[in-house]
């Protein structure tokens, strides 16, 4: 409990880059007087969204999978999100949503974070993955459209078109987890 009068800091702090609870989120409900319904984030005008799911070969929804959209015309335009966070910033198993995507054509890929680095907030992602999601291993891969399966070539991709003020849905990825 902090003093009302001044800052008091915790005595023990780590030197790693940590963020408390930087996981799923949901709107607090109610309004803040600005006319916006806080339960539904206002769409970012002039951009679109990409929404879909990430599942294992057995159909199990997977969370904390990093989903990244890469612009085909300029591959330095990249935005991403984690699976497990759906529309309106609510927790939804296996669902992902990337907002604020500039209109254009993209390829979408998935990659895991756990086991990828030993120095960056691994404990936090492990906890996230532990929420209704099994730990599995799979190669990084692209969304392959109608050919998407657990046996497709991870490097094959389908072009996803993002239109302003619209959500491109149905980007449903299946991990090639060998199951």
């Amino acid at each position: 409990m902090l003093s009302d009068k001044k800052f008091k800091f915790f005595a023990t702090l780590t030197t790693f880059c940590i963020i408390t609870l930087a996981l799923i989120s949901g709107c607090g409900g109610g309004g803040d007087g600005d006319g916006n319904d806080e339960s539904t984030p206002t769409p970012i005008i002039g951009t679109g969204s990409i929404q879909g799911t990430v599942r294992s070969s057995s159909g199990t929804p997977l969370n904390a999978i990093h989903v990244r959209a890469v612009n085909i015309s300029d591959d330095n335009i990249q935005l991403s999100a984690f699976s497990g966070i759906g529309p309106n910033l609510t927790f939804q198993n296996g669902v992902f949503r990337i907002d604020g995507v500039p209109a254009g054509d993209y390829r979408v890929l998935i990659e895991k974070l756990d086991g990828r680095s030993s120095t960056f907030e691994d404990n936090r992602y492990s906890n996230f993955v532990g929420l209704n999601s099994p730990l599995i291993s799979f190669p990084d891969e692209y969304f392959n459209g109608a050919a998407e399966s657990s046996l497709d070539n991870p490097l094959d991709f389908a072009v996803i078109t993002v239109t302003e003020d619209q959500t491109t849905q149905g980007i449903n990825l299946i991990t090639n987890d060998g199951g």
Binding site: M1, L2, K5, K6, F7, K8, F9, F10, L13, T15, C17, I18, I19, T20, L21, A22, L23, S25, G26, C27, G28, G30, D32, G33, D34, G35, N36, P41, T42, I44, I45, G46, T47, H66, R68, D75, N76, Q78, L79, S80, A81, F82, L89, T90, I98, D99, G100, P102, R107, L109, E111, R116, S117, S118, T119, F120, E121, E141, Y142, L155
Partner: protein, 230 residues
Amino acid sequence: MKRNTTILTLVFLCTCFPGFVFAYHILNSSSGGRFVFIKWKNTPIDFRVDGGTLEGKDGIVVVEDACDEWNRVPTARTLCGSLTVLPMDITAANFDTLPLLNDGIIIFDETGGILSSLGLSANTLGIGITLSNTATGEITDALIILNGSIPSSKTTDLLSTTVHEFGHVWGLAHTAIGGINTANNTPGLDPIDPSAIPTMFPFNNPIDDTFGRTLEDDDIAGISLLYPQN
């Protein structure tokens, strides 16, 4: 009326660690089984700024430039308000006497002594701290501490650090775009050019840290989702 508790949300920017990444993401907390994202209720936010120097110079310039970068986002509200320079130098001896005034405070830790007193590594470039209501997620106060003892160089840029820490103060977490698979030293699919790594990437850019001065699409998407321009 049930008393609301506050939590201290700590975010750090460290240096000298291998890179790793993560999408625009918003700080959040859990209350009664519900998740709320952490953000300011009213914007813009005013700041009190350390009256001392930063790297031996007037630190307000860096703060102003960092504020301008966030305020230039056309799809987000204006976030950075007035900057009031305090009439004293904030040091390890007096920094914890600053009153909470529902605003932000920016401290120039010229010697690294304040960060050290908090138990942080001498390699910490800066930190951003927010106080928020756990029930509503409303940020009520914020603190940025910038380490003036690490000279700005191509790989440790003070302005990039400041822009990054402001991102945390607004409620953004670290991005995951820009890292590599350090276990195998492989970049993964579609590695991004270092010049395009989002500012909210948690580590300094080993190629040129000044790249972090400019917000990228991922940063802009995150802040626009949190504070959309009507």
